[in-house]
Symmetry: C2
Subunit: 405 residues, 2 copies
């Protein structure tokens, strides 16, 4: 994740009066012990920028500010420096001690954010020590007029809700994940293998193929589009090797044979699993497939209620493959529409659709719902790649994930 | 036009009793004197297949049958041979002498066509000699139950209506015109130059670009898609020369500089003028642009009522360019929607939209309406190419049209 340029990371400034538990909250969000935690007020001094990862939000920069209500001359300097970071932040987490409540300090921060059109999430922390009443919650929410979450950084309570609130508050550009362009240098060549079968729409290409071409052009690279039958001729027509071959999964085996080993090879499905979700978590989920045993409960979740075709992927094909791998009948359940079922923890696996009708933010929050419930989650694309035995090779552009298999 | 494979030509079988004027009708449709015209019944003997062109219907094969009611043994043989050609025909023109009316013979033909699901157009000919009354017309139409047109092959009356009836009766496959695939051999490489400007839809390609890629793949060729800034790098990456470079008109000058002279070069607009209409007639229409004089009436015709943007092509840009070329104000009129104005002959030029919302058949019949009125017609794409001075080079895949300029 260190390859992520700083500019693409979501910059989250954390504000809070001394000893509200900012550092503990950062640790809880990142599962790391990087922030210095102490119960002596004012341990954190100048604003510190820390590149971190919050799963599944992705790479972030946490801007850890000094306790902004510090007294004395040094304190005033700290306050000024802390407010300067608002220019560099994409959003603000405002941490309140449940026992202390809202003061002029928090109202100032909320107003400054409003003036700067900066999204803000209020976290009422230390719920374990001072349980927050419904009344206090509602009052805080109304006083500050922003999205509010109750947490205990100590017990982990509410941490996933903070992550969801972060994703929902992040600016529109945060959603922007390149399809493949971030894997290419300007002038690089990407070969796209596009079978034309009876399912292809007449006279068109399917949207993921079009989006991939566009993404390549947007990154000043070049897209060479061929049917699988022309892949070899295409390779021979080139003076230099392509950077990557991207194939429809159907043609993966043929593409794998005809792609030199030092050329990256992946599928549209893998690229779109990353574009539309959290590839790392989905690949980890794929590993759970081999642990399925007859009788296990499996949730197949679709975001929309599409017209089911014969040999439908979600109701026929994937169940058939998973049954074969499990060596017996599985207890499938299906969900579709806006929400995943509340009781996710009873499932051994969640298999989610490709999310073509929902955005990345929504898919990430669904993936997190499964993670919070401790259930492995894959999407259709990663599941099919695993079942076909092509997942490892198809992860060639992502060596860390490839090694994790 | 001799390059058109026989299989792609619309096969029209012409039936009619002896001396109904079949041969004169063929001559009138094709503006040729190929059919042997004589007033002696039965001059035409065995069915004869003639590759011809009916403008703007396109390349056809006229199956000129023997007078099918011939008497005697030789006559019976002719009848049998004539009926066999129905298997090879896409549609039937049934010619009736206005003086003779409908007999069992015509009813047989109409019934046989119905049984074979073959479209049929009845032509009541020789209206000049025996004017057809409304009553006779209606009676004929009802007796045969098919599309009916009154003509005089001698005076030319009704000939354009026959052409329109042919286009409307032609089978669905007749509409199918390749975008560029018919100019490519399997394994050929086509470079597509696709500028990404602020007007491009976010994350997509515009439909004509997608359709062109698909058409290339459908013809077992390869599509290399690049922005204009990468065209040179793309050329250098290749072992062999591409067959053709297809560019957005915006990037034409740059593409023209960077495309070797022995590589075909055209624009999406030119390909779509051909795909959606009759390129030959539109190119002929372009030549009329230089004859425009101040005060001339020009019709700008759009098939749909789209939302007009600032600097709209039909209301702002094209009028501006044409005014400049004419050296003064022109008398513009605009039409939109289903039909062209009836009084086309008052215009010096018809400039039609790109026909993205209507099909080829509809566009061809609109082009013909202008032709019948004796008015030159161009579409936006050809007009812009002419105005930009790139039409000649952009016609490089069509040498006959290029020479005609």
């Amino acid at each position: 994740m260190d390859q992520t340029p700083r500019g693409n990371r979501l910059h989250i400034a954390i504000f809070g009066r001394r000893n509200t538990g900012k550092s503990s909250l950062i640790n809880a969000l990142t599962n790391q012990d990087i922030a210095l935690v102490s119960s002596v007020p004012g341990t954190t001094t100048d604003p510190v920028f820390k590149a971190m990862e919050i799963l599944p939000v992705g790479p972030v920069v946490i801007i850890d500010t000094a306790g902004i209500d510090d007294e004395g001359e040094l304190g005033q300097l700290r306050v000024r420096r802390s407010l300067e970071v608002l220019n560099k932040a994409d959003m603000v987490l405002l941490v309140i001690d449940a026992a202390a409540g809202v003061t002029e300090f928090e109202e100032n921060i909320a107003r400054t954010c409003r003036e700067n059109k900066l999204p803000i999430v209020t976290v009422i922390n230390k719920n374990d020590i001072h349980p927050v009443t419904a009344e206090q919650f509602e009052q805080t929410r109304q006083q500050l007029g922003v999205r509010t979450v109750v947490t205990s950084a100590l017990t982990g309570q509410g941490i996933s809700e903070v992550k969801i609130a972060i994703m929902k508050s992040a600016p529109p550009s945060w959603d922007e994940q390149a399809i493949v362009g971030d894997l290419l240098k300007p002038g690089d060549l990407a070969i796209l293998v596009v079978p034309i079968d009876p399912a292809a729409p007449k006279g068109r290409l399917i949207l993921p193929q079009v989006q991939t071409i566009r993404d390549i052009l947007d990154h000043h690279a070049m897209a060479y589009v061929v049917k699988e039958s022309e892949l070899q001729a295409c390779m021979l027509s080139l003076q230099k090797k392509p950077r990557i071959v991207i194939t429809d999964s159907q043609a993966f085996q043929k593409a794998a044979t005809e792609t030199p080993p030092d050329v990256l090879l992946t599928s549209f499905s893998i690229l779109f699993a990353r574009y539309k979700g959290d590839l790392k978590t989905l690949v980890a989920g794929a590993k759970a497939i081999k642990n399925l045993r007859p009788g296990d409960k499996v949730l197949i979740a679709e975001a929309c209620t599409h017209h089911r075709m014969e040999d439908d992927i979600g109701t026929v094909k994937i169940p058939r493959w998973l049954r074969q791998l499990a060596g017996g009948e599985l207890d499938f359940q299906w969900s579709s529409g806006n929400r995943l079922p509340a009781s996710l923890s009873e499932f051994k696996l969640v298999v989610h659709c490709g999310a073509c009708m929902i955005n990345r933010r929504e898919m990430l929050s669904r993936i997190m719902q499964a993670q919070v419930a401790g259930v492995p989650v894959v999407n259709y694309g990663v599941c099919i790649a695993y079942v076909m035995g092509i997942l490892k090779r198809a992860l060639s552009p992502f060596p860390l994930l490839q090694e994790s298999l």
